[in-house]
């Protein structure tokens, strides 16, 4: 929690907002993935480490394929935590967030999972198929270890739901910019997104970052004002799929520069 709050505050003093980058852990394998995440953390302010799952139903084709590659390389929860722990050794201050579907967490055991993740150096959790209704216990456990549960809010979330989401969330809320799955989009509904994020911040009083569909610097510039941070996933994963580290670095550079005023 502390690392996350510090990150927001330190950047805000510099007139910046966090660039949050998602990649799937152990894609294409755990060894290569470590190097990729190290490169990502040179530019990103926070990183979202995706836990591979056989049925990622909130994800589009790009990230689905990343999950398949990771699983066929033998990835599992232990290996993801190992990867995090190695990253943490090198990057002491940057927040690391785990993003994973609920079943592998449930099977690993909620309590053990949260403990081991903390031990590895994780700061927060996003579980896309865990609603506030089902996730109350999980949220309580995460908060009790001073880590951050991060819940999703969507354009379809009613005010009443947003209130619930605010209650169970830790340092920030993750606003899903589209009704849909992850994946690159040409254009986004900037005005609506900014309006909706303001609504969520008003209701919950919490920082709100935006993700799903963001792939280019102009996406960030076009709606810079309302969100407190920007998540980029599929565009990055695509470069990983193409095994193009130079292109990945260029993309990260341009995205990061867009998050500075």
């Amino acid at each position: 929690m502390e690392r996350i709050d510090n990150c927001f505050e330190a950047l805000s003093k510099k007139g910046e907002k966090p660039l949050i980058v998602y990649a799937t852990a152990c894609d294409p394998n755990c060894k290569k993935s470590l190097d990729i995440f190290k490169l990502i953390l040179e530019y990103a302010d926070m990183v979202e480490v995706g836990m591979p799952f056989s049925d990622p139903l909130a994800d589009g084709p790009t990230i689905q394929k990343a999950h398949e590659r990771a699983l066929s390389s033998g990835a599992n929860t232990e290996k993801v935590l190992e990867l995090v722990s190695k990253l943490r050794d090198e990057f002491k201050e940057k927040p690391i967030i785990l993003m994973g579907y609920y079943n592998p967490i449930f099977i690993y055991g909620e309590d053990k999972f949260i403990r081991d993740a903390k031990e590895a150096g994780v700061d927060g959790f996003i579980v896309p198929d865990l609603s506030p209704e089902e996730g109350t216990e999980f949220s309580r456990k995460v908060k009790s270890l001073k880590l951050s549960p991060i819940f999703l809010a969507a354009p379809t979330s009613t005010d009443e739901r947003v209130k619930k989401i605010g209650k169970v969330s830790g340092s920030f809320i993750y606003y899903v910019s589209v009704t849909g799955i992850t994946g690159e989009r040409d254009k986004l509904a900037y005005e609506e997104i900014e309006k909706d994020i303001s609504r969520i911040k008003d209701i919950t009083g919490k920082r709100t970052v935006v993700g799903f569909g963001i792939s280019k610097p102009e996406h960030i510039r076009e709606m810079y004002k309302a969100p407190d941070g920007f998540v980029v996933g599929s565009a990055v994963v695509k470069k990983i799929e193409n095994n193009d580290m130079k292109e990945l670095e260029n993309l990260l550079k341009s995205l990061k520069s867009a998050t500075k005023l």
Binding site: F53, S54, D55, L57, A58, G60, P61, Q64, E68, L71, N76, T77, Y102, N103, P104, I105, F106, I107, Y108, P128, D129, L130, S131, E133, E134, F151, L152, A153, A154, P155, T156, S157, T158, R161, I165, V176, V178, T179, G180, I181
Partner: protein
């Protein structure tokens, strides 16, 4: 008194709503709309009228005399003839009910998933009948295995979306349907074909299917003057079983038996026997038994019957198993294939391969069923399977009973 699901959509610890936030509002909307139509006489009358006039209900409860004689041991079997429904299986009961509900909710775009194609055909049929747009997701593997059903759906005006992700079968078709629903949730209703998925789906599908059990209860009382000793039904997701079990849950003397797909055998990893061999997990929006690895990855399944080839199972089945109200067992592909032939020859009924699993269980356990009065839910007819069985029996002559 058995009153499930509870207000959180749970059956004990099972069920619930494990879905991305985007869908939560839609699930609440569906819940509200369903509660309304449940109390709405006009809706219920319209649904009953369509079941009568369009589907052909009530379906007969037929005394299977020659099959009973084949079993011997004083066993008396009645077949609940869901195979005689329009479109050839019980799936139409739910598809029509949900399509009516969607219309009531003002949603004109319908999506569905299908494995073998029975639910897809039923949904395409209901949509054609009610003038709704219909998109059916079907795994690439199944599209090849069930080419005729693909054409059937297209003939009925539906668009079949071929799913090429994951294992390219039913579970991936469900994933893709959910992804579509997340994207088009404001205009679209997702008609799930079994008692699976997030609340309120398992309840809605059960309720629409429970017409099977209600009729069977009246019919057996009329025919025999008493309730049966046992009801046997096959379980994939478990909608036909839930439909016939539900009205009997409080009749404690009626044994309920769910038969899962044992594939090549429960000691192999090629089966779809979720309750027999799985562990509790969270999949497709609900907590229930699940076939999975030690790491919580969902495992590929196998069954000769595409309709049972699914790694999950309805949460209410998990609950009935836990409280020991129902028992669950499995039969293998080979046992089902034999039953397929035996029923054809003793009753002149070619059963669906799914339903053949229920028949096979009775055959296999005949020795232990002395003097029992049994209802088997014959959930569908086997026309769709004839080609596949022909190919298998040509290759495996040892499985032929003639």
């Amino acid at each position: 008194m058995y009153r499930y699901p509870d207000e959180k959509g749970k059956y004990g610890i099972y069920g619930g709503k494990y879905v991305p936030e985007t869908l939560m509002a839609a699930l609440s909307e569906l819940e509200r709309a369903y509660e309304e139509v449940k109390k709405d006489k006009n809706f219920q009358e319209e649904f009953e009228k369509l079941l009568r006039e369009y589907v052909g209900r009530p379906t007969p409860l037929q005394y299977a005399k020659r099959f009973s004689e084949y079993l011997g041991n004083g066993i008396k079997v009645y077949l609940k003839r869901e195979d005689l429904n329009h479109t050839g299986a019980h799936k139409i009961n739910n598809a029509l009910g949900q399509a009516l509900l969607a219309k009531r909710m003002g949603k004109k775009r319908i999506i569905a998933e299908t494995g073998a194609g029975q639910h897809g055909v039923a949904t395409a049929t209901a949509c054609a009948f009610l003038g709704l747009e219909c998109i059916v997701y079907m795994g690439e593997e199944d599209v090849h295995r069930q080419a005729l059903n693909v054409f059937r759906m297209e003939l009925l005006g539906a668009k079949v979306e071929v799913v090429k992700s994951g294992s390219r079968t039913l579970k991936d078709a469900v994933n893709e349907a959910i992804r579509d629903w997340v994207t088009n949730v404001r205009t679209t209703h997702y008609i799930i074909g079994s008692v699976v998925g997030p609340h309120p789906y398992p309840m809605i599908v059960r309720d629409f299917q429970s017409v099977i059990g209600k009729e069977a209860k009246e019919q057996i009382l009329q025919a025999e003057g008493k309730l049966p000793d046992m009801i046997v039904a096959c379980v994939g997701g478990g909608s036909n079983a839930m439909g016939i079990f539900y009205p009997f849950i409080e009749d404690k003397n009626v044994e309920l038996v769910g038969v899962e797909a044992g594939g090549y055998g429960l000691d192999t990893d090629k089966h779809a026997a979720t309750i027999c061999k799985g562990k509790v997990g969270v999949f497709h929006g609900a907590k229930s038994y699940l076939l999975q690895t030690e790491d919580g990855q969902v495992t590929p399944t196998h069954s000769v019957s595409a309709g049972l080839d699914y790694p999950g199972v309805g949460p209410e089945h998990s609950y009935l198993f836990e409280i020991k109200r129902a028992k669950y067992d499995a039969v293998t592909d080979e046992e089902a294939l034999k039953a397929f032939q035996i029923l054809s020859r003793t009753e002149g009924i070619i059963p669906a391969l799914e339903s053949s699993h229920a028949i096979a269980w009775v055959i296999k356990n005949a020795e232990k069923l002395k003097n029992k009065l049994i209802i088997v839910n014959l959930s569908g007819r086997g026309d769709k399977d004839v080609n596949q069985v022909k190919e298998i029996l040509e290759e495996r002559r040892d499985l032929r009973i003639w």
